[in-house]
Each structure stands twice: as structure tokens, then as C-alpha cells.
Symmetry: C2
């Protein structure tokens, strides 16, 4: 959940009541490749009704394939569409400081529970000092005490990792503002190290395969691509992770993930939404991504069926 | 040079008269980290008067650290400042298709000789088909016969290489529109392969260390960071590469490059401009880059002096 309660120090007790699931909401495009706010709001509403928080403009959302104007338009549409913005944590991190500031300020103004901020990712091999200054400049320029900033660590995609040293410095300088992280490294050891080093720091796993393990060490929850299509099962795990059936719930989440992971994930998820809704426009991705081929879709559907997930 | 003459087939004769040097123009920032159009236009004018073409919003320009609005504003400022836009080749490639279309269309409208277009660089491991569709969508949506598009191949930074297969397909589909490339791989073999495979295709080397070698095989010229501070010497090489003194000119270019290459290059170049102009604001970089330390600057200045370049 991207809620303000998260910014406390309730993480270490392993019994926090504010853990949650967020979906990096898929972005629907029209045939002319422009984003479609109507389908976007409708789909967001379905997710929200399932108890899933919304993390639009993430990697799975093709967020970086959208212009700042398009992201601003879509976020306005969510607010105008009656979505509870305290459950929304948009991705606002871009390569350009001014753009990140603009989108972050808009999110705060619209009452978003938090923002999920990639580091600027064009330059590789940048210094910890440079990354600190990036985040510091965003926070200082937004200049709003309501800001709740979650870091986004996705080294394989961004090629710009966020070190523990950087996080420590940010937490010391901006307590109550820098409040958590989405860790998409897939490395449990890194998530565990953050839980130990930074009490009260919200650590979301980017893969639901580590969901139960993370909940058991006081993790804040799951922000995963598959929450777009299998989020209800993740919500169930969050509710019942202390119960005997938790292992079974986790096994099911992992089985779903394994069945989809060998396919181009974003196109695959869009194909699943198209099948579920009967709305073929959902298949469209923006370049440089390409839509799923029929062959790949058939293979994925078979794998899901064999794993016990008829689609 | 980013001129329309480049789009012909004059490359292979090794005697073309339209070879040139372009500088990825450094972007001056004010103390509040906003770009400064006045200093930008003034500096661009100095470069242009030295016979150097302008490639603003490149890697050295911190182009990806600027928002689309900022880039649009700076390009307008160049045009309003009386710069010959036929000698301007702005970087217009971003992660977002819509933003790339907007900036490319603006460049065409302002009469730019060309545009230099990075592939979308957030997603890694994308397909050749996806990259083809990216460039195709930009060209189709701009929809202007005046467009002269140069590809930008910088695998180490973008992590998204452009293959010969992709180039071949683009050249077949968009002859006269896709007209050249800046190759910042530093690999002569790749540049040579493009010269051989695609007659008339303008291949600019991203490193002046390969300047003479490239000119000898009909390369289109040099687009290099150091052209911001050592561009006149590059122009001299272009003029005299068939003369006996060419080897000496090349040695000097390479010596300058070697003297600066162990320092954070963009900050180093900005420090050199600050020293040359006496205007200390030039030192400012936008995060995630950091300004050059005094120690690094001293070391670089000593190296340059030892190499015969007093600064």
C-alpha cells in the first residue's frame, strides 16, 4: 500500500497491519499508439476494487515510453475518475531532473500516497554523490512535507543500482520523506540487508516469488508486474501469511510466475488482459516493445493451464 | 556537417567535399540547475564561427537530463539567436515515442540540417523489430520529407546497440530520410563495415581519435565531446586530411583526447570552458553528474600542459 501509515517505524515487528500489494498498472494504447485514459481508468478501478494499490508508470506500465505530458494526463484522469489517490504510487523518476520534479509535485498535489522514483538512468557508472544530489534536488524542489518518496532499485533494467550507503544518507537527510523502496533486483539478501539496516523502512519486493519470505521479515509487500492479472491472489497472501495455508498460497503465486516468465512479460500480460476482457486493443504495446506473437501466446496459455491457471 | 548534401551517395569516393565536425554542445545551467539559453546561444555562436556544426542535446550536452520542454525552449533560442539551423543536428531521441516525435518535428520545422536519434534506452534486450518500429513510428508520425535522420549508436551508454541488419532495413524503407549515423562505439571495424555495406550512408565517428582513419574511408566526419573545446583543430584535420601534415594533426587531436579521457568528461569540459571564458557558472552540471573537483581539475590541467595544450 502506498499510504501514509507506511512512513512510520512499524516494519520490524513482523506484525504490521499495513502491508499491501500494488500493481504497476498496464497502460492501454490506441491503434495510433496514444495512451487511452478511459481504458486506463476502467482497468485501474477493477484493480482497486480487488484491494490492489496502483503503481502506474512503472516498468510494466511502459512508463518510460510515455512523455511527461502523457503521464500527467493519465494521473489527472485517475483522480478525476474517482480513484482513491492515497492508494496510488505513480512512477515519477525520469532521466531529467525537471521532469521528475514536475511529475512528483503533481502526484503530491493530487494526494497520492507516495511516488516511486527511479534514478536518472541514461548515464551509467555515476557516483553515489551524484545520485544523492538527484534525489535531494527532487525533494528540495518539490518542497512539500506531504511527499512520501519510495526509491526504485532495478539494476538489471536501469543499470543504475542504489546502494545501502545512498539509502542511509537519504534517510538521514530526509526522514519521513524517503520512506521505502521497491527492490526489483530479485536478491533476497539485499532486501534483508535493508530491513536490518533501516528499521521502519518499507521494503517492497518486485517479485511475488519472494512474497512470503519478505512478509516474514517485515517487508511492506509486493509491487509486481503480475499483480495486473494475478493480484487478487497476492492480496490473499498478504491477508493470510501468518496462517497455515500461506505456503500453499505462495506456491501458487510462484507457479503462476514461472508459467509466464519465459515470455516477453509486458506483452504477455497485455495479451492476458485482452483475453480476459475480450478487448483486443489491450494487446498493443508501444515501441520498442512488440506485441506477443500468436505462437508465444499459445505456448504461454498452455503453460498456465498445465500449472492450474486456465485462461 | 548536418547538411542536406550529406544525404546523397558521395561517401565512397573518399574525396567528398562535405565532411564536417559537429560539437555536442555543452548545456550551461544556472545555480538553480535550470538551463540558461543566453549562455547556450552565445557559446553555440562561438562554435559556429569556428566552422563547427552544432549537435545540441547529445550525451555530452546532458541532453537526456533535460525535459522535452527545456530542449524545445533551447532549440527555439538557437533559431531566434540567428544560428544557421542547416548546421544544427539536435539530439531528439528519448525513451518516449511521443516526445521523440515532438522534438523531431520541431527540429524539421526550424530547418535543422538533421536530427540525431538515440533508440529508446530504458528497456534492454529489445528486438530488432521493436527498434525498427520505434524509428519507423517517429518518421511516419513526423511525416515530413525534409526530415534527415541520423542514428545514434552508443552501446556502452544506451545499452541498446543498433545492428547492421536494423540499419539495412531502415535504409530500404526510408531512403533519403535515414541518412547516417553517429557511431560512439569506438570500434573502427563497425564503422568500416557500415561504410562498405551502405554506400552514401554518412558515418560520423564519435571519437576524434579515429578521425583520419575514418576520413580515409569516406567517413562523414567527427561528432565528439572534445569539439566543444578543441573543435578548431578537428576542422583543420577535415580541411587538410589529404595533405602530408594530416598525420601530425591527428596525433595532436589524439594527444588532447588522451590528456582528458581519465576525468569525468562532461564536468571536465565544462571546467575548461569556465577557465577559458572566466565564467564560473559554466562548471555546473545537472545531477546525476557532479562538478569536477579542484584536485581532478589540477591533474587534468597538468596533463594537458604536458601534452602541449596550455589552458
Amino acid at each position: 500500500m502506498a499510504t501514509k501509515e507506511h512512513s512510520g517505524d512499524g516494519g520490524c515487528d513482523q506484525g504490521r497491519s499495513d502491508q499491501g500489494v500494488l500493481a504497476p498498472v498496464l497502460t492501454p494504447f490506441d491503434r495510433d499508439l496514444s495512451p487511452d485514459p478511459k481504458r486506463f481508468v476502467a482497468f485501474s478501478r477493477v484493480l482497486a476494487q480487488l484491494g490492489i494499490g496502483l503503481a502506474p508508470f512503472g516498468t510494466t506500465s511502459e512508463g518510460n515510453s510515455l512523455s511527461a505530458d502523457e503521464k500527467a494526463m493519465l494521473l489527472e484522469a485517475l483522480a478525476a475518475g474517482g480513484i482513491d489517490m492515497s492508494r496510488v504510487m505513480p512512477g515519477t523518476g525520469t532521466c531529467a531532473l525537471s521532469e521528475t520534479v514536475r511529475l512528483t509535485a503533481q502526484a503530491v498535489k493530487l494526494g497520492c500516497g507516495g511516488v516511486l522514483v527511479l534514478p536518472p538512468f541514461y548515464y551509467k557508472g555515476v557516483t553515489e554523490e551524484g545520485l544523492f544530489r538527484s534525489y535531494a534536488a527532487v525533494i528540495d524542489k518539490v518542497g512539500d512535507a506531504r511527499l512520501r518518496l519510495y526509491l526504485y532499485h532495478f539494476p538489471r533494467q536501469s543499470q543504475v543500482p542504489l546502494s545501502l550507503g545512498l539509502i542511509e544518507r537519504l534517510l538521514k537527510t530526509y526522514p519521513g520523506t524517503v520512506v521505502g523502496i521497491k527492490d526489483s533486483s530479485g536478491e533476497f539478501a539485499n532486501m534483508e540487508a535493508m530491513r536490518k539496516a533501516f528499521p521502519g523502512f518499507d521494503v517492497f519486493t518486485g517479485t511475488e516469488a519472494l512474497g512470503l519470505k519478505m512478509l516474514r521479515i517485515g517487508g511492506a509487500g509486493i509491487i509486481s508486474a503480475n499483480a495486473n492479472v494475478n493480484g487478487a491472489a497476492m492480496v490473499e497472501l498478504i491477508k493470510r501469511w501468518r496462517d497455515p495455508e500461506a505456503e500453499g498460497l505462495q506456491e501458487s503465486l510462484t507457479a503462476f510466475r514461472v508459467a509466464t516468465q519465459d515470455f516477453p512479460l509486458i506483452a504477455a500480460l497485455k495479451a492476458l488482459v485482452a483475453r480476459a476482457t475480450g478487448d483486443q486493443v489491450w494487446r498493443i504495446t508501444r515501441p520498442p516493445l512488440v506485441d506477443l506473437t500468436i505462437e508465444a501466446e499459445d505456448a504461454m496459455v498452455k503453460r498456465l493451464e498445465r500449472a492450474g491457471f486456465p485462461v
